[in-house]
C-alpha cells in the first residue's frame, strides 16, 4: 500500500473526532473490554432474498423473535427476473428463494417490497429513495454494497448471514473499532469525468486490500460538488478497496435530497434531525489513521482492464504490460487477468471492442445515471451487433425515467429497457454474459465469471457506457464529439 500515508493519530488526547468515530460513539451499547468487541446498535436492517433465508431459519431453530420489525425492511432484487415480472419465475430454485423470503417476511412481520410493487428494487436504491437512509444512523445488510448508504453520513456495513441473524435477534452487532482513512479529492472534475471515475481511480491507487480495516471518509471540494447519486456511487465501491465502509459528511445537498421523502423526519422532528446532522462532520483538526489525496483536475474517464476492480487505467491509456509490475504476486495476477480477459499488453483501451453494454446495478442505476447516458445516445444509432441492456435500480426509478421519456430514448437507440433488479451485475438471474462475451458495465465488479461464466467485464461510468454503445469500442463522450467534427 505505498499510496496510503499513515498519519500519527492522537484524537483521544485532543477529543476531536472524525465523522465515523462520532457515529460509532453514538451507537455504543457496551464498550468492549479485554479484547472483546464493542456492541453497536443498528438503526436500520435491510434484507433481500439471497442472504436472509438461513438467518430466518436460525431464528426459528433457536425460537428467537425478530427484535425490531419496525427497523427492518426487505426487497426482492438479486435473483429476480427483469422481463415478464408478472409471470411465475421460470427457474424453480430462484422461485423458491423468492417465495421463502415472502413467507419469512409474513411470518416475522417484516415489510417487504415484492416484484411488481412500486418500491421494489435494488435494496441500496430503495433505502435512500424512501428516506430511510439518514445521516448519522447505522445501516446493515447482508450485502457488501451496503457501503452505498454511507453517502448520507451513515455508518453502513455489509455483513454475512450469521450477522444478519444476529441483528434480527438483538438489533446489535459486536464489532471491533475500525481505523479511519481520509480520501481527499481536491479540485474539480472535468466535463465527462464522473464520480465513478473518482472511485475507480481511488481503487487503482490503493488496491483491493488498501482499505482493509478502515472506514473511508471521502472529502474535499470534488466530493462536495457531487450530487447524492454521485456520492452513493463512490461510497458503493468502498468495499472494492477492501474497506468496511465509506462515508461522506452530510451537508445541504444531503438535506435537500432527504427533505420531503416518505420516511424523512417532518416539522419539528426535521429541525431536530438537521441540528443533529450538522454536528456530524469531522472536527477541524481531528486526525485520521491514514490519508490518500487525489487531484480531481487530473482525472480522466477510468476503465478496468483486469479481473479485479483495482486493475484499472485511464481510458486514454493502454493495457499494461505485466512485465513492468515489480511485485511478483501482482505480476502473476496481471498475467492471469490478461489471459482471462483475452487482452494483449500495449493495446490502447479505446481499441477494445465490446459485445454488450450493461447500464445498471447499485453503483449506477439511479435516474441521474440513466439521464446522463440517455443524453449521450439521444438521436444516435447503436453500434452494429452490440447489445445494450438498461436496468433501472428500482421500480420507482423506472417510472420516473419513463415520465421523462428516457425509456423511449433507450428503445429508439436499440437498447433493452428492463424491470428493476441487480440483473447482470452478478448474473444470478438469466441476465448473464455468454462465455467469451465482452461487456462494458456500469456495475462494481469485474471478477472472473461475475457477469456469467467466461464473461469479460470492463467497469465504466454511465457516460463511457453510453459512448461505447454508440461506437462499439470503449469510448468517452469526447470521442463522440470528435466523430461529429469529422
Amino acid at each position: 500500500m505505498p499510496n496510503v500515508i499513515p498519519t500519527s493519530k492522537q484524537y483521544s488526547s485532543t477529543g476531536l473526532r472524525t465523522l465515523a468515530e462520532k457515529v460509532w460513539d453514538k451507537h455504543l451499547v457496551t464498550k468492549g473490554e479485554n479484547g472483546t468487541p464493542d456492541l453497536i446498535y443498528i438503526d436500520l436492517h435491510l434484507l433481500h432474498e439471497v442472504t436472509s433465508p438461513q438467518a430466518f431459519d436460525g431464528l426459528r431453530l433457536a425460537d428467537r423473535p425478530l427484535r425490531r420489525p419496525d427497523l427492518t425492511i426487505a426487497t426482492e432484487d438479486h435473483n429476480t427476473p427483469t422481463l415478464a415480472i408478472d409471470k411465475p419465475i421460470v427457474d424453480l430454485t430462484s422461485r423458491t428463494q423468492i417465495e421463502t423470503l415472502r413467507r419469512n417476511c409474513a411470518e416475522y412481520g417484516v415489510r417487504l417490497h415484492s416484484l411488481g410493487d412500486i418500491e421494489q428494487g435494488i435494496v441500496h436504491v430503495v433505502g435512500p429513495q424512501l428516506g430511510l437512509t439518514q445521516p448519522g444512523i447505522t445501516v446493515v445488510c447482508g450485502d457488501s454494497h451496503t457501503s452505498t448508504h454511507g453517502a448520507f453520513g451513515a455508518m453502513a456495513l455489509g455483513i454475512g448471514t450469521s450477522e444478519v441473524e444476529h441483528v434480527m435477534a438483538t438489533q446489535t452487532l459486536p464489532l471491533n473499532p475500525f481505523k479511519t482513512m481520509a480520501i481527499t479529492v481536491n479540485g474539480a472534475l472535468r466535463t465527462g469525468v464522473t464520480a465513478k471515475d473518482i472511485i475507480l481511480a481511488v481503487i487503482a491507487k490503493i488496491g483491493t486490500g488498501g482499505g482493509a480495516g478502515y472506514v473511508l471518509e471521502y472529502r474535499g471540494e470534488a466530493i462536495r460538488a457531487l450530487s447524492m447519486e454521485g456520492r452513493m456511487t463512490i461510497c458503493n465501491m468502498s468495499i472494492e478497496a477492501g474497506a468496511r465502509a465509506g462515508m461522506v459528511a452530510p451537508d445541504q445537498v444531503t438535506y435537500d435530497y432527504l427533505e420531503g421523502r416518505a420516511h424523512a423526519p417532518r416539522g419539528a422532528d426535521w429541525d431536530a434531525a438537521v441540528a443533529y446532522w450538522q454536528t456530524l462532520a469531522t472536527d477541524e483538526g481531528a486526525s485520521y489513521d491514514a490519508e490518500v489525496i487525489i487531484d480531481a483536475n487530473e482525472l480522466e474517464p477510468f476503465v478496468t482492464w483486469g479481473t479485479n476492480p483495482g486493475q484499472g487505467v485511464s481510458l486514454s491509456g493502454s493495457v499494461p504490460n505485466p512485465a513492468d509490475i515489480i511485485d511478483a504476486n501482482e505480476r502473476s495476477a496481471a498475467e492471469r487477468a490478461l489471459e482471462y480477459m483475452d487482452l494483449t499488453a500495449g493495446t490502447p483501451m479505446k481499441d477494445i471492442r465490446v459485445d454488450t453494454v450493461f447500464l445498471g446495478s447499485c453503483t449506477n442505476s439511479r435516474v441521474e445515471d440513466l439521464r446522463a447516458a440517455a443524453e449521450i445516445i439521444k438521436g444516435k444509432t447503436k453500434a452494429e451487433g452490440l447489445r445494450m441492456m438498461v436496468v433501472p435500480g428500482s421500480a420507482r426509478v423506472r417510472i420516473e425515467a419513463e415520465a421523462e421519456g428516457l425509456d423511449k430514448i433507450f428503445l429508439d437507440f436499440g437498447a433493452e429497457w428492463r424491470f428493476a433488479g441487480c440483473s447482470m451485475c452478478l448474473g444470478m438471474n438469466p441476465d448473464q454474459l455468454e462465455p467469451g462475451e465482452r461487456c462494458a458495465s456500469t456495475s462494481n465488479r469485474n471478477f472472473e465469471g461475475r457477469q456469467g461464466k467466461g464473461g469479460r467485464t470492463h467497469l465504466v461510468s454511465p457516460l463511457v457506457a453510453a459512448a461505447t454503445a454508440v461506437r462499439g469500442t470503449l469510448s468517452s463522450p469526447w470521442d463522440l464529439v470528435q466523430d461529429g467534427d469529422q
Binding site: T30, G158, G160, A273, G449
Partner: protein, 205 residues
C-alpha cells in the same frame, strides 16, 4: 459451534492472490435456502480445469487451504464460508483476508489465520514439493507445524477465544439484553422506522 483446538490434515496450496468470493462460490450457486450442500459449488468455475490444484488426487480430502493475499474479498456471501466448510476445509491461511469473509469465517468455525507473505511462499513450496503432506494447525499456540517447520499465524483474540470455546455469538450478546433495552430507550424519536410503511403518495395527502 464445535470447539476448535487443533486440526491435522492435508493442506492445499492455492497460489493465487485476490481470490474473491465470486470465485469461491459463483452467484448462480447462491439460490439455495439452506446452509449446507454447497461442497460442489466451491471454486465451481476453476474446478472445471482438471489441472486446478483441488482436482489433483494428492490434495484430496484437504482440510487446510493456503492461499495468497486478499483471500475472500468482494461479496459478503457467507455461502463462501459454507462451501469451504462443506468441502471439508477447517482452516484457511492467507497473508490478508477480506474483512467480511474473515468475520463470517469466525461465525462458522472456519479458522482464518493470517500468515506472512514469506511464510505463505514457504508453505506453498513445501506443499508443492511434497504434495499431500499433512499440516497441524494449533489454535492454542497459533502455530502451523509440518515436520521441523513451525510457522506462526495471527487471529484476533476474541475470535480465537470464541473458536476455542465454541461459543454462539447471539447467546453472548443476549447476556447484555438489559443494556440493549436501556440504549433503545434513549434513541431519538425522529429516527427512521420502516413501519408503518409510508410512500410519497401517502404523505403528500
Amino acid at each position: 459451534m464445535q470447539k476448535f483446538t487443533t486440526v491435522t490434515g492435508v493442506a492445499v496450496p492455492l497460489r493465487r492472490s485476490n481470490v474473491d468470493t465470486d470465485q469461491i462460490i459463483p452467484a448462480v450457486h447462491l439460490k439455495r435456502v439452506t446452509r449446507t450442500g454447497f461442497e460442489d459449488a466451491l471454486f465451481a468455475a476453476w474446478r472445471l480445469d482438471p489441472d486446478f490444484v483441488i482436482n489433483k488426487k494428492e490434495y484430496q480430502g484437504g482440510r487446510v487451504l493456503v492461499a495468497g493475499a486478499d483471500f475472500g474479498i468482494g461479496s459478503s456471501r457467507e455461502h463462501a464460508v459454507w462451501a469451504l466448510r462443506d468441502y471439508g476445509f477447517d482452516v484457511v491461511l492467507s497473508p490478508r483476508f477480506g474483512d467480511i469473509f474473515r468475520g463470517n469465517s469466525g461465525k462458522q468455525g472456519l479458522l482464518a489465520g493470517q500468515i506472512s507473505e514469506a511464510d505463505a511462499e514457504t508453505l506453498w513450496n513445501l506443499l508443492e514439493c511434497d504434495p499431500g503432506v499433512e499440516l497441524t494447525v494449533d489454535l492454542v499456540s497459533k502455530t502451523v507445524r509440518v515436520g521441523d517447520l513451525t510457522v506462526n499465524f495471527e487471529i484476533d483474540d476474541y475470535t480465537r477465544w470464541r473458536l476455542l470455546e465454541g461459543l454462539d455469538d447471539i447467546g453472548l450478546t443476549l447476556r447484555d439484553e438489559a443494556r440493549i433495552n436501556e440504549f433503545e430507550a434513549t434513541r431519538e424519536p425522529w429516527l427512521p422506522r420502516t413501519l408503518p410503511a409510508l410512500s410519497p403518495e401517502s404523505i403528500s395527502k
